[in-house]
Symmetry: C2
Subunit: 139 residues, 2 copies
Amino acid sequence: MAAVTNIMRVQQIYLARVDAVLRPLGLTFARFEVLALLSFTKRGELPLGKIGARLQVHPASVTNAIDRLEQDGLVERRPHPDDGRTTLARLTARGRRIAGTAARQLNAAVFEAPGLSAEQLEVLTGLLTRLRREAGDFS
Amino acid sequence: MAAVTNIMRVQQIYLARVDAVLRPLGLTFARFEVLALLSFTKRGELPLGKIGARLQVHPASVTNAIDRLEQDGLVERRPHPDDGRTTLARLTARGRRIAGTAARQLNAAVFEAPGLSAEQLEVLTGLLTRLRREAGDFS
DNA sequence: CACATATCAGACCTACTGAAATCT
DNA sequence: CAGATTTCAGTATGTCTGATATGT
């Protein structure tokens, strides 16, 4: 159980750091994930349902996150052109800018911090990825 | 940033599993941590402040967790015999029983699940421990 | 009509801040 | 009196459940 406990603890430490970086930008990690996910798509937009599926969060949580991002002018909602049931969330210019800034600052403050060699980071990433695969996270 | 993202995600997956195990027992992970910490001490008791320091949580969060555990009859508060300022939280017999049950079930449901060899688990634990040390988690 | 999608209201947990009470 | 320990009230997040509306 040491591995599991360790994962919980390390995540707690890194989440605290991530939050410290994101707070001045008016973001939380949950909302940053949405922004990052959108910025990885070609058109910068995705149905809310897809977002929930990718990030593995409850539909109500997506609604909540998008509400807040929309209030802040980082994304916009628009009806899906073909399917009247679904709503698309689209990155605004400001949203894209903030997402980039956040990613850069996170890299500087968190990614460079680990204190592990490139090799060690690779091993760690590999093991963690295996755990995710084992848990069916990619299926 | 892949390592950090992976850690977040793996923790999310494992926390969900842990919660699923703990919920029928009426516990959350935060409260289980308190129970586990107490069960590792000789006398099954610790000042609230120590608990917060060990688990790295805010004093108000400790008060909250102990409130709930006490309501459920798993721990008892009693005044510190020598220092009138501090309160001790002590495991009850029922608390100790529940802590043991929870630990066994977590081992079965979470520890055996990872799908990593013993060696790999050791490497993973070692790297994560290094990250914690790097972050000053043991100082 | 069954199914999918999104939203809303309600409840819960955790965390933090700042203030207050008690004791050393 | 300064410092330590705990508690409390208030605020903010995020998550889940269950119910509801709308559209396929």
